[in-house]
Every structure is written in C-alpha cells, then in structure tokens.
C-alpha cells in the first residue's frame, strides 16, 4: 500500500470493510443505473483508504447523483442545487481532519454550480469530487445538460441541442486543476483505483465517471463503453507506461509535432519508444489537456489518472497562516483585542 502524504486525517486502528460504510437507507436509483456501480466502488475504496470511519464526510447538491450521501454510512450532507462544492469548501476549511467526498452531476457542477466548481479547483481545496457525467438531467426527467453532445434530441431540445458541450477535463485543467481522472461506470475496478489515487492526492481531485442513464440517455457513452468497441475506444493510461491500446495492444499514441497521433506498432517502423510515456505528476498541464480532450472516432478516450500534480492546498495554507499569526501576534484572546489600540479609562 502507498503511504498517504496526508498526515492530518486520523487513520482507523481496526481494519474496516465494505459493511462499515453501508447505510440503512433503501437505495432508490433506477435498476440498471450507473450510480449503483459508483456506490459499490466507494464502498470498496473507503476501507482501503483506511481513515477512521468517522473522518469521512460526503457532501452533495441536487440530482440523482446527489442522493449518494444517504446511501453511505459516513457523516453526510445533502445540500441544494449546485452548491455541493461551496458547502464542501466550508467543511474542509473548518475541519481539515476530514476526508471530504463530493457526489455531483453534470447539472449540479457544470451548470447551476459551475462557478463553485471552477473556484474550488482553482483554490485547490483538498476534497474529492466524483462527477457523475450522464450527459442528461435525470431527476427532472430528461432535459439536456451542459455535457449533452450537440444535436441530441431531449425533452428540451426536440430539434436537437444547439449548444457546445463542456468536456469536464478541459474545464478542470482550465481552472488550474491539480488532479483529474476519468473512469467508466462499467468498470468497478478502475473506479476503485482512481478513487484511491484521488484520496492520495493533496488538493482538489476530480474524477469524471462516464455514467449511463438507462432511462433518459441510455447508451450515451456507448461509443466508449460498448463491449464491441471498447478495446479500441478506451485507453487505460498508467503513470510511467507508454500509451498503448487496442484489442491486440498494437496501437499507441505519439506526439507528431504539436499534435497527438494514433499509430500502429510495427507499421512504418513505429516501436514503443516512439510513444508518449504518461507522466501524471508533471506540472505542465499541456499534455494532460491533450489526453483529456481525446474522443472517438479519431482517438480513444483516456481512462485512469490523467493529472496528479503537487501544489500547496488552500486548507494547508489557511492553517499555516493561523499558526504564524498565533506565534507572532500580540492579540491572543478577545480581551487583548478589546483593549488594543487607543483606549482610555474613565473614573
């Protein structure tokens, strides 16, 4: 097991398991919804992370994804639409000893709460954002979202949408994000792995889950997740390893000038040495951005940890400033404050 850089959160003295995190509430998502697999991944990863179970905190906004806290036996707060990231900012700053997890969707964090999403990332507050991207508004029954592909027919776009969708990865990196990972809801193992990596990362971690909404946007990620195509439309990237994919592991990605290019190993003298070796820790987000933008049909979608760069976190800096102020200020209690500056006695 990796050593956690985060020393502030108390670890459990006993070994925990899945059952420690199952709540007594009935799970009310539709049968076949991708959220069930995300819940299973969380139940897998929390015991692995190994913090005291009382030190986990789940925060959510509104939407199907945001019912999540009720189903996990931790401290939890179900907020209001779009504000999960703002509420969680207060939680983490007020108590940095908590491992804060945010369950949010493409409506909650990309639309109504877009402002809070970019600012929590910019500040690098040490929380973990699990972004359920099903490219549709599910709870309000099928209106398009900011990630719905252009041209999609939905309840509010009978002739097809005329909006350019966000790619969440671009938004994260544009907001100077320090951690971005992507997974698909059909792969619990991968989700568990990237969630673990997110927990290890000091700073705002965003995990985009390509999630299926079986009722209102079924197979919206089909081009990426369908069994027949997934070997050629997904690339599982790993730190320190060359970018190889395909059913026969014979395709790769190289940098041709300033552009990414899909190449076939063995063709035109291409070898593994020509391929990009993934470095998730590099500070410069340039290549990370290019990887985050890859999408079929010309490229496979990058899954795994795309970026995990070290920067100071907001919550650590808050504590540092308080420590410094306490050691240098003459005002150490409110009586000191009340009597500071110009005061005089009247008898």
């Amino acid at each position: 097991m990796f050593e956690f850089p985060n020393k502030t959160i108390e670890r459990s003295v006993v070994e925990l398991n899945k059952a420690d995190f199952v709540s007594d509430q009935m799970v009310k998502w539709c049968p076949g919804c991708g959220a069930h697999a995300i819940l299973a991944s969380i139940a897998n990863v929390f015991p692995k992370i190994g913090y005291r179970k009382e030190n986990f905190m789940m925060v959510s906004g509104i939407g199907c994804s945001s019912r999540f806290p009720y189903y996990v036996n931790t401290y939890g707060f179900h907020g209001i639409h779009g504000r999960a990231n703002a509420i969680a900012s207060g939680v983490k700053i007020a108590n940095p000893n908590l491992s804060v997890w945010i369950a949010t969707g493409d409506g909650d964090s990309m639309a109504i709460g877009g402002n809070h999403f970019i600012h929590i990332i910019r500040r690098n507050i040490d929380v973990n954002i699990v972004l359920f991207n099903n490219q549709i508004y599910g709870l309000t029954k099928g209106q398009y979202s900011p990630t719905t592909p252009m041209g999609s027919v939905t309840k509010t776009s009978p002739q097809g949408t005329i909006e350019h969708p966000f790619n969440p990865g671009e938004l994260v990196l544009g907001a100077q994000g320090t951690f971005f990972a992507r997974a698909v809801d059909t792969n619990v193992k991968l989700m568990t792995e990237v969630m673990f990596e997110a927990a290890r990362h000091d700073g705002t971690s965003v995990i985009e889950i390509l999630q299926n909404c079986i009722i209102f946007a079924d197979k919206t990620h089909g081009a990426v997740t369908d069994k027949e195509v997934r070997d050629d439309s997904q690339i599982h990237i790993k730190n320190g390893e060359p970018l190889i994919f395909g059913k026969n592991k014979d395709k790769g990605i190289r940098l041709n000038g300033t552009q990414l290019e899909v190449v076939v190993l063995g063709e035109n003298g291409i070898t593994e040495d020509d391929l990009i070796v993934h470095d998730q820790y590099q500070q410069d987000p340039g290549l990370h951005l290019m990887l985050a933008k890859m999408y079929p049909p010309h490229f496979p979608v990058a899954l795994g940890v795309i970026r995990s760069a070290m920067y100071p976190t907001y919550d650590d800096l808050v504590e540092d400033q308080i420590t410094r102020a306490k050691s240098s200020s003459k005002i150490l209690c409110v009586d000191d404050l009340l009597n500071s500056g110009d005061t005089w006695e009247i008898k």
Partner: protein, 612 residues
C-alpha cells in the same frame, strides 16, 4: 500654542468635513473623532460618501462627507444640523448648506472657488462673493496656497501637498477647540513609519492650519466642551462593523466553537469581513467566497462541522442567500447572517442607509422558513447583538439574521470595553460521543432544539439535508402528517426563543398618551426626540425593539399602556405591518422616510407634537 482666554462653553457641537471624494474627508473626520474621544467627550459619527471611488471632480455627485457630533452630554445621534462645516469646494458647500445651522462657522478652501468649480456645482455666482452666506460665520481660507507654501521648504511637490489639505482644515478645527495636536501627530507617526518625510509634512501642515486659525479674526472665540459624564470603565471608539466582528469573536471564544466566516465583499458590509480576516491569531477562519451563495453555503458546511458559522452581506446579497437560508432552517444548524442594510431595491443606494429589508429578513424564503431576527441599534451595541445572535444560533440550533445598516456599520461611537468573562455563557447542545440514543432530529422537550453531532465524533455518523426530515430519526420523509408536525415544530422552536431574550423595555412611563415605536438603527434619533418632549412634560414614551422575531413576550402589554402608537421606520412601513399582523388589537400610526437619510430629531418632535 495660542493663548486662548475667550471660551464659549458648549454642551455639544456638530462638525462636518466635506469635499470631493478623494480629498481625505473621511480621514479628517475620523482623526477628529479619535481626538475628541481621547479627550473624554462622548460622540457619534456619520460618514456620508458616494458609491463611486472617484466621481467626477467638483460635482455634487462626488461629494464625500463625515459628520461628527461631540459633547459632554450623552450623544445619541450624529446631529441634525452642523455647527462647523468644512467645505473644500463649491459642490460640497452647496450640498451641505441646507443641513447647516444659521450662524454656523463655515470654513472653505477659497482657492477652490472659481468660475469653473462654482458652475460645476450649479452656482450662478460665486457664493463667497455674492453675500449669500452673510448669515454664517464664513472663513475664506486659502487652504491650497498655504499648504503648498508650507511644504515647499520640504521639497514636496504641489500634487502631494494638495493631498494634505484635509490636515490643514483639521488644524483650524483643533484651534477652534484649543485641542492639542498630539493624538493626530502620533497617528501620522504610525501611519508613515516608512516615510518619515510624510510624518514631517503632515505635522507641519497641521501646525500651519492651527497657526493660520490664530490669525483669523472671524473665528473669534474658542469652543470649550467639558468631559462627558460617562459610567466608569475603559473606553474606545468603535464603528458598528468592527463592533459586529468583535462580538462574534467574543462569542466564539466564550462558546469554544471556532469562528468561520464565508463572505463576499459588498458595500456597506465589507468591513466586517476585513476586520475578521485580521484576527487569525484568534483562530478565525475567513473565506472570501466566489459569490454570496458560496459565502453562506460554505458557512453552512462549516456549521455542520461544528463552527460558529457566519455570513455577512447587504440587501442584494441577502436575496442571493435566500435558498441557502432555507437549507439552514431545514437542517436546523446554527448560522448568523448579518445584513448591513442599504437603500434598495436592486443595487439601489449602496452607500445610503435604509431599514427596508425587514420583510425580506422575516419572510424572504420559499416555504415556511422561520428564523430569528434581531436588530442592533447603535454602532457600539452591534457588539452585544452580534454576541447575542451567535448565542441564540448556537444554543437554539437555528439561523439568525442580524440586521444593522450602513449608518450603524460605518458610524462610530464610544464603547465601554467589557470583559469576555463577564459576558453571558454560551452552551451549544453538543451530542456526546457514542450516545446510543442519538438521533439527528431528536429534540429537547423544553426548547425543541436538536443536538449538534460533529463529524469526526465516534458513534454519531448521520446524514442530513434539505429534504423534509422525519421528526426524530431525521430520515427523508414525504409523509403528510410528518410535514405538518415539522412545520409546526420549526415555528414553535423559533417562538420558544422568546423565553430566553430580554423583555421589551420602555424609555419613560409605562402608560401615557403616545408610545413611539422604533427598531434598529433609528434609536438615537427617536430616543432624543422622545426625551426632548418628556422634558416638556409630555406623556410620551419609547419602545425600541431589538428582538423582531420572536417579539418579546411582553409586547402586547407594552403596547396596551398608551392611547396612541406611532411606529417610525426608514421604509414604507414594514415593522408596522408586522405589528398589525402579530398584535392586531391596536391602531397604529406610521411615520416613514425612504430617502437614504436618517430621521432628524426636529422632524420627529414635530410629528409627535402633532399627535399629542
């Protein structure tokens, strides 16, 4: 310095400094009030400035003023009419003359009264030359020229010199009162520690102004104000916004709950944010959020986590926070929302004061979302009411809105410094670790308050949120009967707070001909007006309300003692309509003003006389 023998003994004097915004009038007023405070006078101040940082020069729109009322008697307002007016330019003279007492001393910078500036202010002729000011004691001081000349020997250019003209006028004022210059000089020494030349320059200009005043015959005699008779204790000068911030810091220390402020800058509330962020040594965590909504939502997150959570704003920001206030009501978490009211609606009058957010504070949320509403009445008592708001929020697990306003927030007053240990204790209802009986919405049968279980505590993991809760278990519930029960409980819980607040006080007899009712920042004026009429033997009393929701338990009894009731407020009648709803047995007359200005004692006395 000068040998003043010819004193006029005064009870109180109102001084106003006004000029272009950027002329340093706010600073001159502040330095003057600090000097007065150190000399043992009681005082109240009222800054009056435009929303623009630098409005067009020499226009009425750009006039910035700072009024100071000093006296040996108890000073309750910043004063209706000005006794000594400093007017740096024609625009500031024009906009302030109607508030200046006949026979008042007017000090102008004569160098700034030319054809162009007079025209910009809307004067057809130069008021210094057309005899229109004959009824005043006019001092035509060549402030610009004398300041520049004085600083020439220090090698200071005219542009820099002009920035010290405010200090020159301060010198004149100090001469009028025969005050020493020490406190102001020591301010310069601290302020310009790294620029010794500016210490020298400001000191020189201050002395030049003082000496100049010695040569002006029209100034005649000097004023003398004896020390005010105030209760013994240690005092300081404080603005309402700073007092608010300090009240919360005291509540945090006394309750043992760490302070968290989530806030977005907005006039005139920003100073609370600025003040709290200075006190990290007291453990205050201050988060300047990306918007008003994030301000309150981060505070709600911090509250769930166990902090004394605050958000500060003004009217438009309160609108943005409405939905989140409902969340705090539903989750029954402690939270104080400070609304430093300004003129509305919309952006309205950002730098002017009004009491027009009362209905919004009481009812401005979706659903039935009762919360506690408290209003402070003076800059200094912002400390006490901030403290009480925090105490009620923490002990009753409820959001509380604290209403102040721009005049209170920016105005200053003398403040008798309390000892934190003497303040009332604050005991939040913390849940004990591993409490087998803990349920998120299990209530104290007496107060109806639920327990506060803080993340990290062993054996208390639970989930809450904005969906309706089952009473007791706190699970999501859509049961119709439960919703009725919870709606009633939320209301009853807030009403129960009435058992823990002070009874409604009365200034004057409990029975009489006329009861004046006021609330919030108007107390100084309504009290002064009522006392003036009481001295004349009129049967008039004042009931000034601090607790709006819930109302004090004896409210009915207080109102019942009088033949007539008049409710005075700086809006179109919001508190009076609330009283009509809550206490419908009485007939209320209302007196309202929505001009972005405070009441004057004169207008209130006239109105009350009409009714008596």
């Amino acid at each position: 310095m000068s040998d003043q023998t010819n004193f006029i003994e005064k009870e109180d004097v109102v001084v106003k400094f006004c000029g272009d915004s950027g002329d340093g009038m706010q600073l001159a007023g502040t330095l003057f009030s600090d000097a007065a405070a150190l000399l043992g006078l009681d005082l109240a101040t009222f800054p009056d400035y435009p929303a623009e940082i630098r409005a067009p020069q020499n226009t009425i729109a750009g006039v910035s003023g700072f009024q100071v009322h000093v006296g040996r008697k108890k000073i309750e307002t910043s004063g209706d009419f000005v006794d000594i007016l400093v007017a740096m330019n024609p625009a500031s003279l024009k906009s302030n003359l109607k508030w200046t007492r006949p026979g008042a001393t007017i000090i102008v910078d004569a160098d700034l009264f030319d054809e162009v500036t007079c025209k910009k202010a809307g004067y057809l002729t130069n008021p210094l030359e057309d005899d229109s000011l004959n009824g005043y004691n006019l001092v035509k001081a060549p402030v610009t020229m004398l300041t520049r000349n004085a600083l020439k020997e220090l090698g200071i250019d005219n542009k820099t010199a002009d920035r010290t003209r405010n200090v020159f006028t301060l010198g004149i004022i100090y001469h009028i009162f025969s005050w020493k210059l020490d406190s102001t000089v020591s301010y310069f020494q601290t302020k310009f520690k790294k620029k010794p030349q500016m210490i020298e320059a400001n000191k020189l200009v201050l002395e030049t102004g003082y000496s100049y005043a010695d040569t002006v015959e029209t100034l005649g005699s000097s004023y003398h104000i004896a020390k005010a008779k105030m209760p013994a204790g240690r005092y300081r000068n404080i603005t309402g916004n700073v007092a608010t911030a300090w009240g919360f810091l005291a509540a945090s220390e006394r309750s043992g709950r760490p302070l968290f402020l989530g806030s977005y800058p907005i006039t005139p509330a920003t100073e609370i944010l600025i003040e709290l962020v200075r006190h990290k040594s007291l453990g205050a965590k201050v988060f300047q959020a990306e918007d008003e909504i994030a301000g309150i939502c981060s505070a709600i997150g911090a509250s769930y986590t166990g902090s004394l959570a605050l958000t500060t704003t003004s009217g438009p920001g309160l609108s943005l926070k409405s939905e989140a206030m409902g969340l705090a009501v539903m989750t029954e978490l402690p939270l104080v929302i400070v609304n430093v009211q300004r003129g509305g609606p919309s952006t309205g009058l950002p730098t002017k004061s009004e009491q027009s957010d009362l209905m919004q504070a009481l009812f401005g949320r979706n659903g039935e979302a009762p919360l506690v509403v408290i209003a402070a009445s003076s800059p200094a008592d912002c400390f006490n009411y901030a403290y009480e708001s925090a105490k009620i929020a923490l002990e009753h697990m409820t959001p509380v809105i604290l209403l102040t306003d721009g005049s209170l927030g920016n105005g200053s007053q003398l403040f008798r410094i309390p000892k934190v240990a003497d303040l009332p204790s604050i005991t939040p209802p913390m849940a004990e670790p591993n409490d087998k009986d803990y349920k998120p919405y299990k209530r104290d049968p007496e107060t109806l308050v639920r327990k506060w279980a803080i993340p990290g505590t062993e054996g208390l993991r639970h989930r809450i949120g904005g969906l309706e809760k089952d009473n007791g278990s706190g699970n999501v519930s859509t049961d119709p009967m439960n919703h009725q029960v919870m709606t009633d409980l939320r209301e009853a819980k807030v009403q129960k707070v009435a058992d823990f607040i002070a009874e409604q006080g009365i200034v004057g007899a409990k029975k009489g001909d006329l009861l004046v009712v006021s609330w919030g920042g108007t107390r100084g004026t309504t009290e002064a007006a009522v006392e003036e009429l009481q001295k004349q033997g009129k049967k008039i009393s004042l009931a000034h309300f601090y607790h709006i929701m819930p109302l004090p338990k004896n409210t009915h009894e207080v109102l019942a003692g009088f033949k007539k009731i008049i409710v005075c407020e700086l809006n179109s009648g919001q508190f009076v309509n609330y009283l009509r709803m809550k206490e419908p047995d009485f007939k209320y007359t209302q007196y309202n003003k929505v001009m972005g200005l405070p009441f004057t004692v004169t207008e209130l006395v006239a109105k009350f006389n009409e009714m008596l």
